[in-house]
């Protein structure tokens, strides 16, 4: 199942990567391995986008794109995010391929239970290779996660059949007084607002995870 080739580096289809593609791949891997801080403007954009309406149903474009991405993961189409998914796969499981999610789960269990595969010398040798491998199992997992986000979660939050009693207890809006243990200084208003916003932002994220059913 594993495709191993010597340099020059090649994609899963055996076509050598162009220098630009290789640069892009290296950048993606470096960003995943050693992420840098977001620019404040980008952070605000992401925040605004996340706050717009997190529970709205997937729109037509998102549905179409998720289907296209699924097909790309199955090797039946192309998608601009495919290279990133493959790069992440390679970082997670270099040289490993799985036909299905079960294979990936099995391997994750082995790792968690201290299986011997990690100590396998032949596996270590594969790790040092610069050849690009494809692991369909993980990409399928990523696709599944994307599909859950796009379809299952909106259904959970907008559906009317779910009983209210099954909703998790959410962190409530309340006084911020417990956040402050000392009297207020005149020139520290901004830092107080920063603190309030930061704490409530974490709580909003936690509320979303609870609504999504995340443990």
């Amino acid at each position: 199942m594993t495709e191993t080739r010597d340099p020059p580096e090649s994609g899963s289809d055996g076509v050598p990567l162009t220098p630009a593609e290789l640069d892009e791949l290296v950048e993606a891997l470096m960003c995943a391995y050693r992420p840098t801080e977001l620019a404040p403007e980008r952070h605000e954009e992401l925040l605004a986008s996340a706050l717009e309406d997190p529970f709205r149903p997937a729109d037509e474009h998102e549905v179409r794109e998720s289907e296209r991405f699924r097909q790309a993961l199955e090797g039946r189409a192309s998608h601009p995010d495919l290279a990133l998914a493959r790069a992440l796969t390679e970082m997670y499981a270099p040289g490993q391929q799985h036909d299905n999610v079960d294979g990936l789960n099995e391997r994750a269990l082995e790792r968690a239970l201290g299986g011997s595969s990690a100590a396998d010398p032949s596996r270590r040798a594969k790790r040092s290779s610069t050849v690009i491998y494809v692991s369909f199992g993980l990409t399928a997992s990523l696709a599944a996660a994307a599909l859950v986000l796009l379809f299952v979660l909106p259904m959970q939050t907008t559906g009317t059949s779910a009983p209210a009693a099954s909703m998790p207890a959410l962190t409530q809006s309340r006084s911020t007084a417990p956040l402050f243990e000392e009297k207020f200084e005149r020139d520290e208003t901004t830092s107080r607002i920063d603190r309030i916003a930061a704490v409530r932002a974490r709580e909003l994220r936690a509320n979303r995870f609870k609504q999504w059913g995340a443990p």
Binding site: V26, E52, L88, T171, Q172, R174, F184, A197, R202, F209
Partner: protein, 196 residues
Amino acid sequence: MGGAMTGVRPISLLLLALAAVTGCARDEPTPTACPEVDAGTPVDPALLAFLGKARAAHHTADILEEQNDLDGAIGALSALLRPGALPDRPEAHEVVADTHARLADLKSQLERFDEAQRDVEAGLKLAKEASYFRGHLFEMRGLVEERRAKQLKKSGQESEAKKAEALALEAFEQSMQIQQKVIEQALPDAGKHVDP
């Protein structure tokens, strides 16, 4: 590149990938539930949107204040007070109360003392319970009157200046009483005499 890969912690990377998909980045532990989960309004995007706006307004005011553009800073903060812009949440009320306190400070620096006191009153209507927010507003009331007294003295209005000073002292005293009450609420044994 292969060498770098061998040092990678795969599980962390998988989590990173999933965090990127969900647009989430947790830099601190998740807040615990408990008293925060009483019936009420959950922390929601409307509140966060308001808090984000408040942050932007105060940071803008910081920059303008640094440039000695106090009128500009007042304008930036006043944008938070527009009718209909305030979500009915305790956090929003407290943030606006604190904003009124800052406005009172800025306006009194420009000798707009009556306006400054109106800001203090507006803030006190939002921060009704004994808290550092309320205590801070009384402190600002005292500061406004103290500045007014100095201005009156400069212009030779001694008796009016004395009245302003008296009001300042009264406000500072109230501020200290509120601060003490807050401390006692947080630490029930605070201030009690302990025999050796």
